[in-house]
Symmetry: D2
């Protein structure tokens, strides 16, 4: 396997760190550089001591990373939303490919971006070179795009759970979708905030950003595409007292009687070519997918109340971020789609 | 305050233990006996060493407890469902009052009991002497009933969250109710099961008993009463990696535009006489109610998707079980409704 | 009971918050004011929403609190070390009593204070009016002192565990004491630091400040007094993935054969008049003391290796801070020593 | 790499499961069979649903596994202590090699085995074909032995932490060793016990089996070998509210002044050829080694109290069990010592 050279900008946030760890053992990758504005000058394993003897790269600044754009075939950006526009412009000018883990290129409607992210979109001209990086919903565009908008963690869980049903509007009401999602606390990022302390967030649950979370328009955009017309959904995120993992419990009204088997057949067919989606009969749990790139899905029809309840589980930092970003790279560069992603066994009891 | 004498049957399950602790410091109560079939012959503080020097009662058998029925004014049963029928028959014969923390007298329809609990109802003749013990929805019946069916933990969280809306079917669609509830693991009881081990249930979330949990008919019964006609709802319980607390996220479709303020006004009025319900503007968290008898409620209208999202939080073992059982006793025996329940400050950071 | 008026300076740190909650239901106390430099102007229940409807006091600044010194009989300071000197000077001038939860008056040797705390002691002239506030080792001085130096959390656990042995230097070697202590994360204070996040500190343990923790000289000072001569000890603190509680495992070499019973007799006698120390035969666990003012102690002689292993457990925020501060107030003002401290039942399963 | 065939007996305990997961991706291994008496007849991924699509082997009974001894080059036993004797006899008869994760062949003194394990040693005749499988203390015997006694988890942490010092009895007192160890709850095995429930063991710490834990004689045996004479040590195990990881805090008295650097030099030299021991300057944390085969060690001299404090951290299920068992296999069969063990990146934040 001929190796490609990649650079990671924003290597010391949680997603960037996981990405770096996955890339470090990917058989087709050489890491050219890692950048971190907060920790530039330190070594990666000083910030994350678990990587001692494993990943010793010196962290460079964002500025330096941009100057070294020619050293790489692919740039990963795990930067805050709003910080990727200039990198993307430069990457396209240099004819480099970019996988962006932020939200900067996820929304195809610039007004929506501005409404939800409270800032202008500074590189909207690039949108026609962008593919939304959810491989299970379409690998073709990903192969050819210059820029991949790597999906949000909640979005991946919600979209994979609901999308298979939307073409079946004889069975279900596409306008009834509710996604109630529960996330581990790494989803909030590596921020020194009182509310994220073990002493505060431990042993407690809460909903937050009800009816106002930024992943809402992203989920709506992709589910609207899957349906074929504009949908609004309700999305409620919750914070769990655990480190990682997302469970999405999704509710869709049925229009007619259907059995568990009917729905399982739809999902089985929809994901028959997707190694990383496991449609399963027993109920999903986040511990079964943590540290892996799997998204597990199970289904139950509530016949009495006439609803389908789909639960999906994934690791917010792997399939919800870094793992999916590697999966997208594999597709873009012709590697096996599972390259570098199958070694991480789910060792958790 | 003249004291009443109470006996607790089933004092060593989680709910029974909490109840015992609350009764031990209630100014109007003398504990006549504690029973436990599993631990009969031991002292209470041998089973729960935290009560050393505090609660030393010797545990007696269920059989012995029934023989000592005349020693008490009130019997609490924190026994498994199905085990209370004979106790209730005996209590009524002896003209004693009973507060039952099991599900044996919660469903007013014997067929529903048999369907959901897979056993016959052996004391259905007593049902006209039973009141459903949710004080916030009606204290009058509780005052006079011989038997109180103390509500299920999920039911308390779900009913208190949704009931205030149901008379407003100009505003909302009563048939659209979905309750997505998240519970700490004590809700599963004190059972030696692999799936409840820290090594298994820690750091992970899952849904369980989807569309089939036994609290469903109980919630439907009470919400149907509040609405005035038969409702079906969807109820999904989830297990959280924490010891205690329930968060219920409830979804109700609106029929017309309404603002947060409109809905807050309805809830404020509904609970204006209820000390233990705190309707609050900021979002609820289970840590704010744990170890107390409060149920906190907050509201958000999802204008885009035309739904109201109500979140409620309570301690599954206090307001969801033992605390509510004390509150019911207070009402039955003319104590102040908060007696014995206000001392437990929420010390949790 | 005639009430005293108290003010709390630093009411919004973890210890200050717990103290406020305990005082709010103490039958002999009126809270005159609560101060918080960080949150001055807000209400207490805005900072800690669990106290809604319970503690609504408006928080004032430190400056304002000092101006209102004449309103109170007793001032509590739960301020950072170094910030209490001026308060203490003013309190003594105004003939008010002070219970200080910081370390500012714990060390009787000003050089030691300067060495360990890296700052000058600015009020050393007050030291003869200070009592070290560990009631189990001497209530007399506490009764009369103007200023109480409320002990550190680790110190309380370590000193109570070891002190009873030190007069028995025929049995044990006083110079062999090792204290290996494990603390919940509230012990680190309410600080927005990456290392205290649930995502970092959860599910992991570490030692920290080995051979250099500031509680070392404090433990040595009190154990030296108990022994009658200057001792050095080894003290190692550890951080646990839990909210509260300290377990101290203490090692002392024996000089001669002794049995568990021999040692239990010594401890039983030593603590025979101390309601808050439970010397117990079964091994201690932090969950048995959390939310209470108890310190549990158990003993095991390692006959093969000729050591005594004493384990003690307490709640770092109650017996290790706020509860002990209330206990000291009770002694100073002639209340029952357990007043305001017995209501908080250990409800934890 | 020519593959060897291995069988795992006891594949569904925590250690057996981890071992199976490691073997499943080891480049030099074919899994011939997995046995489990509890779950015989089920598939491995029915017991551990996280392995769906990864490890689907049907579990066979212990009896069947013994009949298929000729199918394999190597047998792993992750059975309860006492259950391995007959397997070992059969393996030696069949000229197969055996790596035993139980304690059955760890103690070289049959009287000690009988005293600590309360049963007779039924295969003591095999002891001269056994090597204690701690590679860092001697790889030669491991290479040639027929049977490997894979060390206990606590033993690995304690022995690796203390052994390097024992040849230096000019510097330290070998008779002063105290090991205070803190373990995640998987160390207790996969047992349905009340005390291991999340509701009980969560958010709490305790010491257990003080001065009587079965790993004590094993640690003493190996440290005595390292020293050259018989030592007694004190070992205290503690249970932490976390899934995995051991931190051992070890205390050794110094006889003379020595600095951190002096001791670091000794350890650096001792482990210079050991890839899996990371001697490090910053303090160790269990999260830095979890899911890996590393043992991290750091050192601090307590000059005031004249002791060395060594802390070591490892994953009780990997370096403390399954990973070490793979490492031993690698040595026995001429694979690279890190084969199959380096892929598991420590992804934990």
């Amino acid at each position: 396997m001929e190796k490609i050279r990649v650079g990671v900008m924003g290597a010391t946030g949680y997603a960037g760190q996981q990405l770096t760890a996955l890339l470090a053992r990917h058989p087709g990758v050489d890491i050219a550089y890692l950048s971190s504005n907060t920790y530039a000058g330190k070594n990666f394993d000083q910030v994350y001591p678990q990587y001692r003897n494993l990943i010793g790269n010196k962290l460079i600044s964002k500025h330096e990373a941009m100057e070294r754009m020619d050293d790489v075939d692919l740039i990963y950006t795990a930067l805050p939303s709003g910080a990727v526009f200039e990198v993307a412009e430069a990457a396209v000018r240099s004819d480099k490919r970019l996988i962006d883990l932020s939200a900067d290129f996820r929304l195809e409607d610039s007004a929506a971006y501005e409404f939800w992210y409270k800032r202008e979109h500074e590189a909207f001209g690039l949108m026609d070179q962008v593919a939304y990086g959810l491989p299970e919903l379409g690998r073709e565009r990903i192969k050819e795009a210059r820029i991949i908008a790597n999906p949000g963690c909640y979005c991946t869980a919600g979209i994979l759970a609901v999308a298979p049903l939307l073409k079946h509007d004889d069975l279900i009401d596409p306008f009834s979708v509710i996604i109630d999602a529960k996330s581990g606390i790494t989803g909030a990022g590596r921020k020194a905030e009182i509310s994220l302390l073990l002493a505060e967030a431990g042993d407690s649950v809460k909903a937050y950003n009800i009816a106002s979370h930024r992943h809402t328009p992203e989920i709506e955009q992709e589910l609207s595409k899957a349906y074929g017309d504009k949908l609004n959904i309700t999305f409620t995120p919750h914070l769990m007292p655990m480190k990682r993992g997302i469970l999405a419990t999704c509710y869709i009204n049925t229009r007619t009687f259907c059995s568990d088997d009917d729905i399982y057949e739809i999902y089985g067919r929809f994901y028959s070519n997707s190694d990383f989606v496991r449609v399963r009969r027993e109920l999903v749990e986040t511990r079964y997918v943590n540290y892996t790139n799997f998204c597990d899905i199970s289904i139950k029809v509530d016949i009495r109340a006439r609803r389908i309840i789909v639960t999906s589980a994934l690791d917010n930092l792997i399939k919800g971020a870094a793992g999916q970003a590697v999966q997208n790279m594999n597709i873009m560069f012709g590697f096996d789609e599972t390259a570098g992603l199958s070694g991480q066994m789910p060792l958790v009891p």
